[in-house]
Subunit: 348 residues, 2 copies
Amino acid sequence: MQRLIFTNDVAAQLAGIVAEIAPNRVYILTDSNTEAIGNELNTFGAKMITIQPGDEHKDLHSLADIWSELSLSGATRRSLLINVGGGMITDIGGFAAASFKRGIRFINVPTTLLGAVDAAVGGKTGVNFLHFKNEIGAFAAADAVIISTRYFSTLPAAELRSGFAEMLKHGLISSADTYRRLLAFDIVDADLDALLPLLEENVGVKRRIVEIDPREQGLRKALNLGHTAGHAFESLAMERQAPVPHGFAVAHGLLVEMVIAHLLEGFPSAELQIFAALLREAYAPAPAITCDDYPRLLDLMSHDKKNVSADKINFTLLSEPGTPLIDRTADTDTIKTALDLYRTLLNI
Amino acid sequence: MQRLIFTNDVAAQLAGIVAEIAPNRVYILTDSNTEAIGNELNTFGAKMITIQPGDEHKDLHSLADIWSELSLSGATRRSLLINVGGGMITDIGGFAAASFKRGIRFINVPTTLLGAVDAAVGGKTGVNFLHFKNEIGAFAAADAVIISTRYFSTLPAAELRSGFAEMLKHGLISSADTYRRLLAFDIVDADLDALLPLLEENVGVKRRIVEIDPREQGLRKALNLGHTAGHAFESLAMERQAPVPHGFAVAHGLLVEMVIAHLLEGFPSAELQIFAALLREAYAPAPAITCDDYPRLLDLMSHDKKNVSADKINFTLLSEPGTPLIDRTADTDTIKTALDLYRTLLNI
């Protein structure tokens, strides 16, 4: 059973869990951005492994470097790997641990809000391969995930908002009440102490969904809300050499998919206005798209790995905040209409 | 639930299972030795992937080649990989499948007796890394394993005897009756049709053990019988540039460990004579060791990955054929005495 700990005293909690697991060797994986945090947490003589930061280094080369460090320093099945960093570190470190000697224990200490809310729970680990994201990996749960908001104060504002988009998504698919409390939270001028309990509730939502459906056969698909359109925005921005943070693309994807839900499932129009106002305040600028971009966006949506047919596109939709509808589809005309309405809502 | 099929009509059985799984793309992995068998089985338009044969190619490089073939030809989570070959192919192919997009289905068609009895059941997959055997891998069960003895007729005699050593081990740890029937089988001039039902019973033994203890926490350790001493013989032979087949090393390891069991657990001395006679007939030549080799052999035994302390060495022992005793240890003096007796039994 994976333990999930919310604390602002990470060092003490981590040392306690390490003592309990009593591994024969301990390793802390960081990238150069989180190395200082890793050193600060290392009160138990762990060997430090540091790799280069950034999604472009979440690859086989870095993975082989981690395996080498483990192998050559005599790690065994009773050793422990602690991943300290953003989603890149918890993804690659989780897979390194899951595949070393067919699986050793690991602990995640996410240092970004996105990592805490999205990547550190759920057991998805992996690396990019060729030009495919997360092409190689495993489902493997960390022994413990230790979550604190104290590391977020050093992050750029955009990074915090990016993670908050995933929190909004969890609110939307779980309860209207949770969603309203998130809307009331000021992410632009964030109070990190007030964020910790919201984060705890939020990660709990994801955790329950993953426990019910670990292999993404049913309910877990609700977690894809906002991501079919969001990935298309993200890929389009990448193609134009102007990448946007993942959560910004997801935030805008959420609005597109709310509009589709409005058209097909009666999702209330007042909710569209409320969410558009949030996007204008916290997730500007909006993607600079025109109707000329629709064919490429549709193409990107239909190539999403969750999709199985080309003319109808899979979505998770909503009948209202808190009520997700999985395994829904929309045809291309509906999606084009939704993109028109989305642009109108944001004056694009 | 993994299916285990014993048949001499592999092609028909395989085609039936592929039709049932209804994957969107099918791949057959072979090495250059088994490519012809793969082609013969390919009645359903699978894409062939062929890698170089031999344990020295069970590495990250071959693994990346397999992943590339899958990625670049558009394999998805609903695709299927069929591994046709010896243990090298089922090991690397199983891990390639287990890690591609966090896991796709795979089927094993072992073409060697060792592969059928040892590597194709049990969910251990992986590749060598640096100079460590099976350092990187996963526990992942094939959807189906299709076992036939018809491919064994083209193998060198040593290969057949090598696999038979693992069958003897399964007899020893499961039932005196099974063990006696194996002793009565003539592996030197083998009747492959008569071997198929023996093999079915034998793989069933391993399968039941693995089902009870998939993660090697208890009973599954019984499968290590003969392997602590056997791996030491195998490594010593490798160091001397005169490698021996895995099963030959295991067969001799079984006798060493029977002698230890005789010294510590009352394993009957008559059984030692019977097994020594089999070794002289079917597993000659014996390892050319003298007492000068004992320190190195002990060193190799204590570095076995199942071991945790250096002065006592872990073994699975036996009180009699059919009754394994897991988590036993022997000290170095006992092991030296056992090696003396082993050499006496074989006139080394």
